[in-house]
């Protein structure tokens, strides 16, 4: 009798700690109140998205409450330090670089088994499965969010129409447009050069036309800046800078500044990710549009037409290895990520969201520019990456700094020399 009782206590204790029960069953049967911390962008639209996804989680786990922390934009300092002290949030957003570091130190859960058991891949489009899942070590550590956004070259139709300036389609036309815009005191391209990725994307907008690998090829050491193709692109950038393509103080401008210049009609063009599309519609209405191809190639260069900057990263929601409830947290992260992305696609029209779109309806009508993007998405190829997500972090930091210097007037020769030096140092 006594033995039996002791045994049953032992078993129920084991059940509680999840030792005997398979993950899925345990997940469903626990009804203790659980709070999980989730660190993700949490403001304006992203707050609404997160709250929506949290509701979806509640449907399966009424006992689970999500507590949100806004994602700190500090280059990973906070999350890395919290990883060092074992104080990571249960679920949090990682980009590729952070995922690699945290995976190496065992701070986040490897999700290969979960993917295999849950068929999570079924939710994802093929290009995301191919490019955004596996980290450097070949394992999966995150549920993708935000997808593969191309960087688009936006422009203000009205400025070009009113002043009778041709919207540029190739490099020569770009240079002409710069001159004509400068003559009427309009900034040709507004740029937020205080952040790394726009500067990198601007480089790729030129480089990809000459070499499909862009800055990624440089970071892997397969190409050099002094190669003929890259050197051509770099000289073109230097010439465009010289001609006054950007606003003054470009390396010190943050997103708000650059966006304000473009929105107020003080700048004619603007480089930003495809996620900016809905803001563009809000800000410029009918006058907002983007160029189907970057105006950076020789006239008539067809095969490089849809090579776009931006591209895949292993970014998404990761689960802390220190979480008290690994199974539940993993499942919650999965539900959360897919619900959030479906909503992001259908309600916020983020056309690059990492979801299978066949069964999803977009709410309301698509604007013309959105339809335009949707039409070309299948054509787009990505050979490069966002500069801050390159695996070669040392090169990425050097390159960003060199690019900033190029943007404020460093000569093309010095730039090429320094970049090649950095390639040599960081890829040996």
């Amino acid at each position: 009798m006594k033995l039996k009782k002791a045994l049953s206590i032992g078993i129920s204790a084991a059940m509680l700690t999840g030792l005997l029960v398979p993950a899925s069953v345990q997940a469903a049967e626990t009804d203790e109140e659980i709070t999980l911390s989730v660190c993700i962008h949490y403001y304006d639209d992203s707050k609404a998205l997160a709250d929506y996804a949290a509701e979806k989680v509640k449907e399966k786990y009424p006992n689970v409450t999500l507590e949100f922390e806004d994602f700190p934009q500090d280059g990973g300092q906070t999350l890395k330090t919290r990883a060092a002290t074992g104080d990571l949030p249960d679920i949090f957003k990682v980009d590729g670089g952070l995922a690699d570091v945290l995976a190496k130190s065992g701070s986040i859960l490897e999700l290969d088994d979960y993917y295999a058991e849950s068929n999570y891949e079924e939710n994802l489009p093929q290009n995301v499965i191919d490019n955004c899942l596996k980290s450097l070590d070949g394992h999966i550590y995150q549920f993708p969010i935000d997808g593969i956004p191309p960087v688009l070259w936006y422009y203000n139709k009205q400025i070009f129409e009113d002043n009778n300036i041709k919207v540029p389609e190739n490099y020569d036309e770009l240079m002409t447009a710069i001159k004509e815009l400068r003559a009427i005191d309009i900034i040709p391209v507004a740029m937020f050069g205080k952040e790394p990725w726009p500067v990198g994307a601007f480089f790729d907008a030129f480089a990809l036309k000459e070499n499909p690998g862009g800055v990624k090829a440089l970071s892997e050491g397969t190409s050099k800046a002094s190669d003929e193709d890259f050197s051509k692109a770099i000289n073109r950038i230097a010439d465009a800078v010289e001609a006054g393509i950007f606003q003054d103080g470009v390396t010190n401008a943050d997103y708000e500044t650059a966006n304000a210049l473009f929105t107020e009609g003080k700048a004619a063009m603007f480089l930003n990710g495809s996620w900016y599309l809905s803001d563009l519609i809000n800000n410029l209405g009918e006058n907002g549009d983007f160029l189907e191809t970057y105006p950076t190639a020789d006239a008539g260069a067809e095969d490089s037409k849809y090579r776009m900057a931006g591209g895949p990263d292993t970014a998404g929601l990761a689960v802390s290895a220190n979480t008290e409830y690994p199974e539940i947290a993993t499942d919650v992260a999965a539900i959360f990520a897919s619900a959030r992305e479906e909503q992001e696609y259908s309600k916020y029209k983020l056309l690059s969201a990492p979801v299978k779109t066949e069964n999803l309806e977009i709410e309301g009508e698509l604007e013309d520019v959105q339809q335009k993007l949707l039409d070309i998405i299948p054509e787009i190829t990505y050979g490069s990456k966002f500069i801050h997500t390159l695996a070669n972090t040392k090169f990425s930091a050097d390159m960003t700094e060199e690019l900033q210097k190029l943007l404020v007037g460093e000569s093309a020769e010095d730039f090429i020399k320094n970049v090649d030096k950095s390639i040599e140092k960081s890829t040996k």
Partner: protein, 292 residues
């Protein structure tokens, strides 16, 4: 007297708690930084011992020299302009004929009271090349002197340093002024009766008597310049390129942007050594003069 002031137990009681807290919270992490500077380490995973490799790499790294140079420029600007201005203000307010002393003193301190974030927000607007105060002022005056204040590779570091000068002059001034105020009036009065001019009193009496205060101000200005971080972090993010990097900023970059924490530790060790050396030299200079 000697016996009272040499009481070992009182000394221990007075100093050990402070030393203990300091050792645990500040010194121990520094030791760990020193240790990790000999490792290849990303901050999280297993560290690999690499001996002096980090230091060897450091001494061939252009960024290291640029950061070092910027630290020196920053410190130099703080010493000359911040301490210089604070000294002049102190002289002015020690002058008996100047009214509204209270008002002046309080107003000088206002920038110190504001957080660095607020100060940098303000200066970003002032320096803004399109809409900023400076460029528009020059334009209004008909001067063709528009500048890209914070995006100029050569001058950005100076522009950033001057924000610090502006913000913390009041701080240095307050220290100097309290020091000057605690000098007994009789000394100054006696000199005045002897017919000394204000400037003579300032230079011959005030400054020598404030030696100890100035030593402290020098240490603040110079070490503050060497490890400047907050202002560039908010104003330029080290840019354009690397033109506003200091050693602290470089350490931060290595540790968190590049994932080379060990390498970052090596530059941090150099930074600490540099500050210790500067403090040591300042102390030496000021104590050697004592003999005369």
């Amino acid at each position: 007297m000697q016996k009272m002031l040499g009481n070992k137990r009182v000394i221990a009681f007075f100093t050990l708690p402070a030393l203990l807290v300091f050792t645990i919270v500040v010194f121990y992490p520094i030791l760990q930084t020193l240790q990790k500077s000999f490792y290849d380490w990303d901050g999280l995973s297993e560290a690999i011992f690499t001996g002096l490799d980090n230091y060897k790499e450091l001494f061939t790294d252009d960024l290291f020299y640029e950061s070092l140079k910027n630290g020196l420029i920053f410190a130099g600007i703080l010493v000359v302009f911040q301490m210089g201005l604070a000294t002049l203000l102190m002289f002015a307010l020690m002058n008996k004929n100047i009214p509204f002393k209270r008002f002046f003193r309080s107003s000088f301190f206002i920038p110190v009271v504001l957080s660095v974030t607020v100060a940098c927000q303000l200066w970003s607007s002032i320096y803004d090349p399109e809409f900023g105060l400076f460029n528009n002022l020059f334009q209004a005056l008909g001067l063709n002197y528009r500048q890209n204040w914070l995006s100029d590779m050569n001058w950005a570091i100076v522009a950033v340093a001057f924000v610090n000068v502006w913000q913390f002059t009041g701080y240095q001034f307050t220290i100097m002024y309290s020091g000057a105020k605690s000098i007994p009036e009789d000394y100054l009065e006696a000199a005045r009766i002897d017919g000394a001019t204000n400037m003579q009193i300032n230079l011959k009496i005030l400054l020598p008597m404030l030696k100890d205060t100035y030593r402290m101000c020098f240490v603040f200005a110079i070490t503050g310049g060497f490890n400047a971080f907050a202002h560039m972090n908010l104003l330029t993010k080290g840019g354009p390129g690397t033109s506003t990097y200091t050693l602290t900023y470089m350490t931060f970059r290595s540790a968190f942007n590049v994932g080379e924490y060990g390498y970052g530790c090596a530059s941090a060790v150099i930074l600490v050594a540099q500050c210790l050396l500067a403090t040591f030299i300042i102390n030496k200079i000021f104590s050697s003069k004592e003999k005369y």
